[in-house]
């Protein structure tokens, strides 16, 4: 117990120490010191996380109490951390992938000057700190603190190159869209407090507290929680910030907008799965929104030409799959996909970063091509990432995606069909990206070609490690029909319960698996075949244009929400503010000035006038006094004598 308190403190405080060190000392330290410290702190946190994980393996879940965050008569919110199988897994992923990305960043960001380099790493450390609070919190309020912290860090890092106005715009967009979701989360917390008087997991997420909640309560709370997840995890209708978030440095996209922060929504729903399992409506909403997002983002990804945009839409699409998994009750499948996705998507983003680095900040894949021989390590690792996300066995993406699809089939075959279509599109756009970037002939300028180089070891080492993880991570959820054990779902039994029997015969599962794999493989080969020789030019067909322009969703939001809001703000500014409020304030001043101009004429410097006014005043006073009955009485008495 005591040792655990120290250990969890270590996990949390190392990144915070890094944030303070780099943030406060940004003008003093050399880049070398900054890089070593920032990465070293995350590695230290990772080592502590490994010990925490092993402890949980041996002794089971544990909750450590630090202090009371809020303590009143009616509600008590302790600042507690919970380490159980779920949060321990997330700890490993966050600190593990986080450490690799820090290592990668030390080289990727080396063109920055020392103060900005320190700023970058302090934000990144603060992000890890917030994310750890998010997953470690033992109640919804502590989770919400981390939830807001990661949103802030996301904003800061998207707008890292703050001199570019567009990047600031993207940062603001991400922050505001997240705020919309956060409001839902906050309302859900309030609802819980009102109904149950508690936000602690061990009091809220139990059968007794469920009995106190009506069906409406559960549906309302879960829907509001899902709105929070929607914002953070970029689901319809709040997904448009994620592609724009690619304005940030590439390692940031890898860490925050692919591997960790955007999966916070999945973590939150998995954590409160008891509530979600009791609301049929919410589950259906989640599944439908998940699969719609997966398909919509996949169609957009097919037509994008910016290497990071393709990956961003791919992330949105994969998050959609995870939500499909949550919606059909495959919680461990969703967590499994979070983990494998963290590996292969971080790998893909870092690979893209390596390509961008080699191409001197060129992101348009139409100007690349033929990089296979120039960047051998990047090429090989990127290929592994593509195969993993496309769902080709035995790479990790296959196992996690298949688990979700099998559960979807058990719920409704329509989900499965749509899911397989999405998977085929995933394979197609990933190999379109791969082929256009790495195969064929080089299409950039001669100058760029002469500078092509493989990235330094600080960048290739994370790529190699993540490639290994992407290839092998499937082992943690090796399905039982293949003679495996499915270690992950056994780990998660305390949180999500026994993996429920899908009711599918093994033969059907085999058929489903082979169908999805073969369709994905066909799409994959097709993409290589199509894009081996040519690249996508501006789309000409109607549908192609529609996908290329991202379904015009940004324009729709602009017309439907942003413009009316701007007009309303304009009304407030020009009518309410300028006319009414300024009118009242300035009117008061003008009135005083006007009356002062008039009244000061009385004071004309002639003594006679002053005496006159004095006499007039005295006469007025007397008139008032004479109205007083006492004086009248006195005079009456005089007249009687």
């Amino acid at each position: 117990m005591g040792i655990m308190k120290v250990l969890v403190g270590f996990i949390i405080l190392w990144p915070l120490a890094g944030f303070l060190f780099n943030g406060l000392g940004r003008n003093y330290w050399s880049k070398k010191v900054i890089a070593y410290k920032a990465t070293g702190y995350i590695v230290a946190s990772f080592i502590a996380s490994v010990f925490a994980f092993l402890y949980v393996q041996k002794h089971g879940a544990i909750s450590v109490h630090y202090f009371d965050f809020i303590n009143t008569d009616t509600i008590k919110i302790p600042f507690d951390f919970k380490v159980d199988a779920l949060s321990a897994l997330f700890l490993l992923v966050i600190t593990g992938v986080g450490a690799l990305i820090h290592l990668y960043s030390t080289s990727y960001m080396k063109e920055e000057t020392a103060p900005h380099y320190a700023r970058y790493f302090s934000y990144l450390n603060l992000f890890i700190f917030s994310m750890l609070i998010l997953v470690l919190g033992d109640n919804f309020v502590v989770m919400f603190i981390g939830w807001e912290g990661v949103g802030l860090c996301s904003y800061l890092l998207i707008g890292y190159w703050f001199t570019n106005g567009n990047y600031n715009y993207a940062a603001k967009k991400a922050f505001i869209m997240n705020r919309i979701g956060d409001l839902g989360f906050l309302l859900a917390i309030f609802w819980l407090i009102v109904k149950l008087g508690s936000v602690n997991y061990n009091e809220v997420l139990t059968a007794t507290s469920l009995a106190k909640l009506s069906t409406t309560d559960i549906t309302g709370i879960t829907l509001l929680l899902f709105v929070g997840a929607m914002g953070k995890s970029a689901q319809i209708p709040l997904f448009t910030w994620l592609p724009d978030a690619m304005a940030g440095p590439t390692p940031v996209s890898a860490l925050i907008h692919a591997a960790t922060m955007v999966t916070a929504g999945i973590y939150m729903i998995t954590r409160s799965n008891i509530l979600f399992s009791h609301s049929e409506i919410t589950q259906n909403v989640i599944a439908i929104i998940g699969i719609s997002t997966a398909l919509l983002a996949a169609t957009i990804a097919i037509k994008q030409n910016d290497i990071k945009k393709v990956l961003a839409y791919s992330t949105v699409s994969q998050l959609g799959y995870m939500f499909l998994g949550l919606g059909v009750g495959a919680y461990s499948g969703a967590v499994f996909h979070v983990i494998t996705h963290a590996f292969f998507k971080a790998l893909l983003f870092l690979g893209a970063g390596s390509v961008i680095h080699a191409m001197h900040h060129e992101q348009d894949i139409r100007k690349m091509g033929g990089l296979k021989s120039k960047l051998p390590i990047t090429h090989l690792t990127f290929l592994i990432g593509c195969i993993a996300i496309a769902g080709v066995p035995p790479f990790s993406g296959f196992f996690s995606k298949d688990e979700i699809l099998a559960a979807a089939f058990a719920k409704s075959p329509i989900y499965w069909v749509l899911g397989v279509i999405g998977a085929a599109m995933t394979a197609f756009y990933m190999f379109r990206l791969y082929t256009t970037t790495f195969l064929g002939n080089f299409r950039g300028t001669i100058d760029q070609e002469s500078h092509l180089h493989e990235s330094p070891v600080a960048m290739t080492l994370p790529l190699i490690l993540l490639a290994v993880a992407s290839a092998l991570a499937g082992a943690i959820g090796f399905p039982e029909i293949m003679g495996g054990h499915h270690w992950l779902s056994h780990q998660l039994i305390p949180i999500v319960g026994e993996p429920h029997e899908l009711g599918l015969a093994h033969s059907i599962e085999w058929v489903l698996m082979s169908v999805s794999v073969s369709i994905a493989c066909i799409a994959l080969v097709l993409a290589i075949f199509i894009y081996k020789k040519k690249t996508d030019e501006e789309p000409t067909t109607l549908v192609g244009k529609f996908f290329y322009h991202k379904w015009h969703i940004d324009e729709l939001y602009n017309q439907a929400i942003v413009q009316p809001l701007n007009r309303f703000a304009g009304f407030l500014k020009y009518v309410i503010e300028k006319k009414v409020i300024d009118g009242a304030v300035n009117g008061t001043g003008k009135m005083v000035q006007y009356s002062a101009r008039k009244v000061r004429l009385i004071q004309n410097g002639q003594v006679g006038y002053y005496i006159l006014f004095m006499v007039v005043g005295i006469i007025l006073l007397f008139m008032i006094w004479f109205n007083d009955t006492k004086i009248l009485f006195f005079f009456n008495k005089l007249t009687k004598n």
Binding site: N604, G605, Q606, V607, G608, I611, L612, V615, L638, T639, N641
Partner: protein, 111 residues
């Protein structure tokens, strides 16, 4: 004689003084009007003193009632005498400096 006559007379005298102060520009006449007001007050004090001592005598009390008002009058006359000496001195100085005793001329502190 009823007290009202004294009151009305003093009121008239006082009002004359006030009007004089307000309307005249000659410093000496203004000064005289101030004296007029003081004396109107003196007169009414004496009148009331007499009235009160008369009432007290009817009721059989000692005959010192109302005597304090007459003492006041002496005070006022003394103060007025002192005031006259200073005021006239000021007017003399004013005349020496400005060759005028017009009080409307004394607005040099304006602006």
């Amino acid at each position: 004689m009823p007290i009202q006559y004294y009151i009305y007379f003093c009121l008239a005298l006082f009002s004359l003084g006030v009007v004089g102060v307000l309307t005249r520009r000659n410093a000496i006449i203004v000064f005289m009007c101030i004296e007029l007001m003081l004396n109107a007050v003196n007169l009414i004090l004496v009148a009331f003193s007499k009235m009160h001592s008369g009432i007290a005598a009817q009721n059989g009390a000692t005959n010192t009632a109302g005597i304090d008002a007459q003492i006041f009058v002496f005070f006022i006359m003394v103060v007025a005498a002192a005031e006259v000496s200073i005021g006239l001195a000021i007017i003399v100085m004013m005349y020496r400096n400005t060759r005028s005793i017009d009080i409307n001329f004394l607005n040099r502190l304006k602006n």
